[in-house]
């Protein structure tokens, strides 16, 4: 199988380039991560992040043949040759396929992704009906891999101001939680022309999410909540 891999080493290279690799006798049932590990065996200077190998840690998000996805759950059989592997778009490249995700994490922190309860806490669990709990399905499963946010043109244009689909999905995860009591504050914080309203429903985020989540719908639901509060 043929691979074209994005290479950039800041200590050596003036600018990035694509390097070709050929792997013989590769089992096509294997995942792209397995192939990348074989390439690393050939050339230990080749660098990418990876860990759990089963799509739950979110380390190995990459741009694969033009689409963002996780290398560890992308079967080689699904890929057209030569397989072009690049770092996630729209973020500074540290080395090879490793990008600096500081901005992404900052947006995550800024939506205050934690439960806020102001009432006194009971000694037992808060009650939450299965229906209320089911509102969190499709939200809490986010693994912060960054596929969605780095596929979003609105994030490319305004990376410092637009929160991006991943952070907004988390914002809604807490807005949708029947236990949370910071509803107004959260909505207030998301108003303004940039933070959320840069979303133009392009829906790249939905197309690339490796966990099948739907940030666009979450953003839509936040807008509906805002309208409900105003009207």
């Amino acid at each position: 199988m043929r691979f074209l891999i994005y290479r950039y080493h800041p200590e050596k290279d003036q600018k990035p380039y694509m390097q070709a690799f050929e792997l013989d006798g590769l089992d096509k049932n294997k995942m792209l991560r397995d192939a990348l590990l074989l390439i690393k065996k050939q050339d230990e200077s080749f660098t990418f992040r990876h860990s759990c190998g089963e799509g739950v840690c979110g380390s190995d998000a990459l741009n694969i043949n033009g689409t963002n996805g996780l290398a560890c759950i992308t079967p080689l059989s699904s890929l057209k040759e030569p397989v072009e592997v690049r770092p996630l778009p729209g973020m500074p490249v540290i080395r090879d396929l490793v990008v600096d995700m500081a901005q992404f994490y900052k947006h995550y922190r800024e939506v205050k992704p934690y439960l806020v309860v102001t009432d006194p806490e009971p000694e037992v669990e808060f009650k939450q009906s299965p229906e209320e709990r089911s509102k969190l399905d499709g939200l809490y499963e986010c693994i912060l891999c960054g596929c969605c946010t780095t596929a979003c043109p609105s994030f490319w244009w305004n990376p410092e101001k637009f929160r991006g689909p991943a952070a907004l999905l988390q914002a809604y995860r807490f807005l949708a939680d029947s236990r949370d009591q910071a509803h107004d504050k959260r909505l207030e914080e998301l108003d303004g022309p940039y933070r959320m309203f840069r979303c133009h429903t392009i829906m790249n985020c939905v197309n690339v999410c490796p966990k099948g989540l739907n940030p666009t719908e979450a953003i839509h639901n936040i807008k509906r909540m805002m309208m409900k509060d105003v009207v």
Binding site: E44, M101, Y114, L115, Y140, I143, R179
Partner: protein, 586 residues
């Protein structure tokens, strides 16, 4: 060049559930906490825990902490320390409620309480009917807990050093731990973090074995750091093989699959667990089920063309239950096996999963070493979670007790550290000589020339451990294993890096990890060779019985001279009566 330094009250190494729970306790008490993690915190391996966390909430079936305690002790094959187990089981309910209050999206029952499911080794009334004790967020409980703990740490403004690799602990002449030498992976620059207390929460070493459920990062770095600091490792011969890993690949299929009603069959379609565990059947302890699968395959009753796996059946549960209760493992099965779990059985085989042994600690999380009579804590050093050995898991951990372990002892260690900080208000000075050894360790990999590659030797080590230190063991096999690991240790000297660059050099990180793995492999094989009995996960074909008279004791492995020592099991609980060892049947 002068070494960059930072000063904190507490240094936490590892940002999984244990490290984050301790950090949270400390940050909320206004201590200055630094959390060092070689990956971004939510990528720590706690994220992959699926089934749930045990607590006797009695939301579904009658339950209480005392039954939970009994099950845990029995599950540990009586090697667990009963005081620590009582402490953990008593704390469980409060800790789960605390997690719920912190935001963990637990699945719910109709009445709005936390959903609980049956898990292996659980019983009502001290060995009676099956209990339902495992609190779950679908089959993503670890993910839900890890993310929540990270989120609460963001709120508490814990200071994170993301993608920093810990090289070695710093110890002064009096044996006090003063922090650690760490390295920024992004820049390759070393950094000395001075701390009045240091907590190791670096997780297990599943990467010892070729087929494992663990992440690439689970290389037991904290265990090896402790060994190098002269601290022994406890009970390293006990390594858990999870019965249901995806056959040939190793991805975990949670015990929740059987808890929700799944069962195992061999090639004849027989529910073979009925023969091995007439009462608990598929929900016997993990060591029991793993051995049963192993025997079925060995005796020619395995499924598939090569007869090398057995089937897990969950197709009778129906799409609704699968989607609601086991969505993530169904995804995993579809992705990695291209099997539809709603229609077809799932090929599974036991897979290396959990390090029961570890750094010896007491129930406050203090690292303890034996002295002439009893043991004493190492000042300034704590350990929690999979890298620690309290020991609450003994010779075999129950499913759902690992998430409990990390939050209970993460919190306990946090509280004890708060007390320690109150009495030790100032940093002790660090002399140049205290850092020398760690710096030498760091520069060892600057060596150039021709030699063996890191990845190659890591692969060899994993294959050796799998072959010579697997589910069933004998003196002969273990002896061969020991020799082979010793040979690898020798060859470690010939390993060189070809990439000597600084920026994000993962090859260098993997070299450090390989060193760590070799140390832990030695500890594991040597401890296994020494223990001449079968107990829990440690099955000696040549010593098939448990031998309480000679072996009801913890083993301790020292790196220096590869010496073994032993210490008694704490059989006396905190308040209740001892559960004396008796025959263990499920």
């Amino acid at each position: 060049m002068t070494l960059a330094r930072r000063k904190f009250d507490t240094l936490v190494i590892g940002a999984g559930g244990g490290g984050l729970r301790a950090a949270l306790q400390l940050a909320q008490a206004d201590a200055k906490v630094a959390v060092v993690s070689k990956v971004f915190p939510t990528r720590s391996h706690t994220v992959a825990a699926q089934g749930g966390i045990n607590a006797a909430l009695a939301n579904v079936l009658p339950d209480n902490w005392h039954w939970h305690m009994y099950d845990t002790i029995k599950g540990s094959d009586y090697l667990g320390d009963q005081d620590a187990i009582e402490y953990m089981c008593r704390a469980a309910s409060n800790l789960v409620v605390e997690l719920e209050h912190a935001g963990v999206p637990f699945s719910r029952l109709e009445n709005g309480n936390i959903y609980q499911r049956p898990f292996g080794g659980q019983s009502q009334d001290f060995g009676g009917k099956q209990a339902a004790r495992t609190c779950a967020a679908a089959d993503r409980t670890g993910h839900a807990i890890l993310h929540t703990l990270y989120q609460q740490n963001i709120r508490a403004k814990t200071h994170f050093f993301d993608e920093y690799f810990a090289i070695d602990l710093i110890k002064d002449e009096e044996g006090v731990i003063l922090g650690a030498l760490v390295m920024s992976i992004e820049t390759g620059e070393p950094l000395l973090i001075e701390a009045k207390t240091t907590l190791l929460a670096t997780g297990g070493a599943g990467q010892l074995f070729r087929t494992n459920t663990n992440a690439h990062i689970n290389t037991g770095d904290g265990l090896a750091m402790a060994l190098r600091a002269g601290i022994p490792l406890q009970d390293m011969e006990f390594f858990q093989f999870h019965p249901t890993g995806i056959a040939g690949k190793g991805m975990l299929i949670s015990e929740a699959a059987r808890g929700e009603g799944g069962y195992l069959t061999n090639k004849n379609g027989e529910r073979f667990m009925e023969r091995y565990a007439p009462n608990a059947k598929d929900l016997a302890s993990r060591d029991v089920v793993s051995r049963a699968i192993f025997i079925e395959v060995q005796e020619g009753r395995g499924c598939g063309p090569s007869g090398d796996y057995v089937n897990l059946n969950i197709n009778h549960l129906g799409e609704e239950v699968l989607n609601k209760r086991l969505p993530a493992i169904c995804d995993s099965i579809r992705t990695f096996l291209r099997v539809d779990p709603a229609k077809d059985p799932v090929p599974i085989y036991p897979t290396a999963h959990y390090t029961m042994g570890g750094i010896p600690t007491n129930r406050q999380g203090q690292v303890v070493v034996p002295i002439e009579h009893g043991e004493e804590p190492i000042p300034g050093l704590y350990a929690v979670g999979e890298c620690a050995c309290v020991s609450v898991h003994g010779a075999n951990r129950l499913g759902g007790n690992s998430l409990l372990d990390i939050v209970v002892f993460g919190r306990a260690a946090g509280n004890d550290i708060i007390g320690y900080l109150r009495e030790h208000r100032y940093h002790r000075p660090i002399n140049e000589s205290d850092v020398e050894q760690a710096m030498a360790h760091l520069t060892r990999w600057d060596r150039k020339g021709d030699g063996i590659s890191v990845a190659g030797l890591r692969g060899e080590l994993q294959a050796i451990m799998e072959k010579y230190c697997g589910v069933f063991r004998t003196e002969e096999i273990l002896q061969q294993g020991l020799e082979k690991v010793l040979e690898i240790e020798q060859r470690l000297d010939d390993v060189v890096l070809y990439d000597h660059s600084k920026i994000f050099n993962t090859a260098r990180i993997e070299a450090f990890e390989l060193e760590n793995l070799v140390d832990i492999a030695l500890a594991t094989v040597k401890s296994a060779l020494s223990r001449q009995e079968s107990r829990g996960a440690h099955s000696r074909v040549d010593y098939p019985e448990r031998d309480d008279k000679h072996w009801l004791k913890h083993s301790l492995f020292y790196k220096q001279d590869r010496r073994m020592a032993y210490k008694p099991v704490r059989l006396k609980p905190l308040t209740v009566d001892t559960f004396p060892p008796k025959e263990r049947v499920y």
